[in-house]
């Protein structure tokens, strides 16, 4: 029996700047089950991070959640007050950030920064908190955890810092972890270790994970399902195997095609032509149309609605690709 943990419905997060409104997240909907790993993929500026921060309601001025529901265990987070959100942050939903070098406060020890979560969200006494910190550091694979408690972040390497951050995120045993590009700032060997660690810990504790990344290789290895975002809108969503092997949206297809392959004889790496459009002047019709190889007249006029192609696979395109990547 799969239990639904998080459901985002028609989420719109806009930034009201001097130059105009930026629709960073524009009508995103998705579901996340308990114990499931969901990937959010897309190019820079696609609204991935803003989606993540919206769930925790950590959107700063001039940003604002304009519309939509974020149902977490059936409760709508959008209506929660800041005070109520503080109780949820760290205890029910926690977050892992992109850059481990800057995410830890340089003036506090590792123990203080992990223990803080326990101090706020649990009734543990100082000794229990210390023991829990040791266990957490052990879980995330930091050797001699007890000796490391009093270390400061600058005494840790990047990979170790990210492990410490994961330990802090796991501290209060949250039901959902949002990981925003957790391995982007790390080198490749460490990336693999951290990802494996995260997957293991999440599956062990039946925690749900929302993995935000631009790296399709990461997604392919880690997630159960994924959603592809472009200009704040969902282009395609489905099981990861279907997405990777039979992409239906031309954008997904383009992204997959841009990955270099070792056994490929092609001279030039294929790429998606053009650039992400200016967020102040989004094109009429489909946002992807100006870059799309299969663009037709209708795409430039009419915005496509997301629809289900087959069970669990939804796409927002007037002319979706057929199974073999060719046009319908």
């Amino acid at each position: 029996m799969v239990e639904k943990l998080l459901e985002v419905k028609d989420l719109k997060t806009y930034f009201h700047t001097f130059k105009g409104i930026v629709k960073a997240v524009d009508g995103v909907s998705f579901k996340l089950n308990k114990g499931e790993i969901l990937g959010i993929v897309g190019e820079s500026g696609g609204g991935k991070s803003v989606t993540g921060f919206s769930i925790l309601k950590l959107i700063d001025d001039p940003g604002k959640i304009e519309n939509g529901e974020i149902l977490f265990n059936g409760e709508n987070l959008v209506n929660k007050s800041e005070k109520e959100m503080k109780k949820i942050r760290g205890s029910k939903i926690s977050m892992i950030f992109q850059d481990p070098m800057t995410s830890l406060n340089p003036l506090y020890t590792i123990q203080q920064q992990i223990g803080e979560v326990l101090k706020i969200h649990t009734n543990m006494n100082a000794e229990q908190r210390k023991q829990r910190c040791i266990n957490l550091l052990d879980d995330v694979g930091i050797p001699q955890p007890e000796a490391r408690l009093k270390s400061y972040p600058h005494q840790f390497s990047g990979g170790m810092r990210q492990r410490a951050i994961i330990a802090a995120a796991l501290a209060a045993e949250p039901e959902l972890i949002i990981a925003d590009e957790p391995t982007t700032a790390l080198d490749v060997t460490i990336q693999a270790q951290i990802l494996r660690l995260m997957k293991k810990l999440v599956k062990e504790k039946n925690t749900s994970l929302l993995l935000i990344t631009h790296d399709l290789a990461v997604v392919a290895e880690m997630v159960d399902r994924a959603i592809v975002l472009y200009c704040g809108q969902v282009m395609e969503t489905g099981k990861i195997d279907d997405l990777i092997h039979q992409p239906i949206h031309p954008y997904t297809y383009g992204l997959l095609n841009s990955i270099p392959r070792l056994n490929d004889q092609k001279k030039r790496l294929s790429q998606i032509e053009g650039m992400v459009p200016n967020m102040f002047e989004l094109p009429k019709g489909c946002n992807y149309a100006p870059r799309c190889d299969y663009c037709q007249e209708r795409c430039l006029k009419e915005e496509p609605k997301i629809r289900e192609i087959y069970e669990g696979h939804r796409v927002s395109c007037h002319y979706p690709l057929s199974r073999e990547g060719s046009h319908e």
Binding site: S91, S103, L107, Y152
Partner: protein, 321 residues
């Protein structure tokens, strides 16, 4: 740590030595004190006798070595005017100045840090903008003018505050202190406000600038994602990081407060060592001036040393070696 402290002590002595040279020789250009001391109708013989008595007939270099030798024994010479040990005169008046400086410094910290944190964390609020405008006034308005205005408004017009003197004093640890009596406390408010305004404004702006920078950092967002409460977010996670430049400037500011105390003490007739200095300058009382300058230089050097030690207790990345 120990090695560092001995190294710093050595540097401090060197600095004070250089200061003693500058102070002594500059002072010797400020006019002939003998002429100020004898009666206007004194004969040349009387003048010469006074000069020999004071040891001012010897070559400058010799005078300097006598001066240094005496300093090392804690003897800064006798005031020409009071005929008393200069250092004793200053130390007698030091509690009054230190008390005033202490209250001013405390006032600066208590007001500047919370306001700076607030204005830095919520820069777009109208109250923050008002705070910043106020701090701009605090920096721009001339200090002595503010003092006079305070006297004009609170002492002359509304007659709620005394305009001069220390009021009632009590003995505390062998020093005469006025803040512990109601009357004395009333007397210290206006001068302390005047003395603190400038450094308060500077500290406030620095704290705000630091906070604005720090609030954008990832670790603040990470702390928020952990559910850290507002107060601990602002005053622990953020403020601690914003504090390093504030402390640097603050060390200098305390020195400036001590220096500016001379002006405040003169305006409010506060019987501290600053007022003694101004009186001594008017009377060309050289030993008192020299002793004052040496003591202030010593306080400056000591403050900077303390600031460096404070750094390490705040930022673990700063290594004292």
């Amino acid at each position: 740590m120990f090695k560092y402290i001995t190294k710093r002590l050595y540097q401090m002595i060197l600095v004070l030595f250089v200061v003693s040279i500058i102070v002594f020789f500059v002072m010797s250009f400020t006019g002939d004190p003998v002429l100020m001391m004898v009666t206007p109708d004194a004969t040349q013989a009387q003048i010469d006798r006074a000069r020999t008595e004071l040891g001012l007939d010897k070559p400058l270099i010799t005078q300097y070595f006598i001066f240094v030798k005496n300093i090392l024994r804690g003897d800064f010479g006798k005031s020409y005017v009071f005929k008393q040990s200069a250092i004793k005169l200053i130390i007698e008046r030091m509690p009054a100045t230190l008390e005033l400086v202490f209250v001013s410094v405390l006032l600066s910290i208590i007001v500047a840090i919370p306001l700076g944190v607030f204005a830095g964390a919520f820069p777009n609020k109208r109250s923050s903008k008002t705070i910043m405008l106020g701090s701009l006034l605090g920096i721009s308005l001339p200090n002595f003018w503010v003092g006079m205005m305070l006297i004009f408004v609170f002492a002359v017009h509304f007659r709620v505050m005394p305009s001069s003197g220390r009021g009632e004093v009590v003995n505390f640890l062998g020093m005469r202190i006025s803040i512990f009596t109601a009357d004395g406390f009333k007397h210290i408010i206006l001068p302390a406000v005047m003395l603190s305004i400038q450094s308060l404004a500077i500290l406030l702006r620095l704290t705000r600038a630091g906070m604005m920078e720090v609030m954008k950092q990832d670790y603040i967002k990470f702390a928020r994602s952990k559910g850290v409460l507002q107060n601990s977010l602002l005053f622990q996670h953020a403020l601690k990081n914003a504090l390093i430049p504030v402390i640097t400037v603050f060390g200098i500011q305390i020195g400036k407060i001590i220096a500016f105390a001379t002006v405040t003490e003169t305006i409010f007739s506060w019987p501290g060592m600053g007022k003694l200095l101004i009186d001594s300058i008017n009377r060309s009382d050289r030993p008192v001036m020299v002793a004052y300058l040496m003591i202030v230089a010593f306080i400056f050097v000591l403050l900077n040393f303390i600031v460096d030690i404070v750094y390490t207790s705040i930022d673990p990345r700063i290594d004292l070696r």
